[in-house]
């Protein structure tokens, strides 16, 4: 079934560890996004991509990095996690091609807790 998947669903990790949050979609979408969201709070765009080998920084400065080597895969990496990185991370995808009326499809999110 075409969908967007995020793993892990929950992650508790110690300070200084390197982590990678996975995001994959099977909908054939070109555009992918990473948003950071605290519970019941606003969404902050941290990274986005228009397609393979395309990555852009979003509105909120983030110490994380992303890569887009394959269309379906858009992982987010933190080289050295800190408690300030504790948050929910949402991945989304949409069709591209100069389309208007863009509809985003969201994953279930990864809740990251850094101790």
């Amino acid at each position: 079934e075409a969908d967007i998947y995020q793993t892990p669903r929950y992650l508790v990790i110690g300070t200084g560890k390197k982590i990678t949050l996975e995001c994959s979609q099977t909908m054939g979408h070109d555009k992918m996004y990473w948003y950071q969201q605290d519970p019941g709070m606003e969404l902050h765009l941290i990274h986005y991509s228009y397609g393979v080998n395309s990555t852009e920084k979003g509105d909120l400065s983030s110490e994380s990095t992303v890569s887009r080597i394959r269309t379906e895969h858009f992982p987010l990496t933190l080289e050295s996690a800190r408690p300030s990185h504790t948050s929910q991370y949402l991945c989304a995808s949409s069709e591209f091609g100069g389309t208007t009326n863009e509809k985003l499809f969201f994953g279930s999110g990864t809740q990251l807790s850094v101790l």
Binding site: L45, L90, F106
Partner: protein, 110 residues
């Protein structure tokens, strides 16, 4: 820069009462505007988009370019409408990102 403002963090209404969730934007052109909703323990999902002029689950939203607003309305609130609502904006064209507002939590009181 594009910006979306939702002035209310929390809106509480009684069941059957009208609902209006406010959204204002800053963009000089003709934006694409959306409302997304996140129910408890569910994914964020698209509710409606202004270009479609649709009514979804009884909700409608009208774009007012003069006031740069895109308020979400429903004449009679239901308990199942309780959720987090986000207004979003996108500039027209292909290479554009989607920016979200701060969100409003709607609480419908039985």
């Amino acid at each position: 820069a594009q910006r979306v403002t939702q002035p209310e963090k929390l809106l509480s209404v009684f069941k059957g009462a009208p609902v209006e969730l406010k959204c204002n934007y800053s963009y000089s052109g003709s934006p694409e505007l959306f409302w997304y909703v996140q129910y408890s323990r569910q994914r964020l999902q698209l509710l409606l988009r202004h270009i479609s002029r649709e009514s979804i689950k009884g909700f409608t939203a009208d774009l007012n370019k003069g006031e740069t607003s895109f308020h979400l309305k429903k004449p009679f609130a239901q308990e199942e409408d309780s959720a987090m609502y986000y207004c979003a904006l996108r500039r027209p064209g292909g290479y554009q990102k989607v920016t979200f507002g701060t969100g409003t939590k709607l609480q419908v009181i039985p």
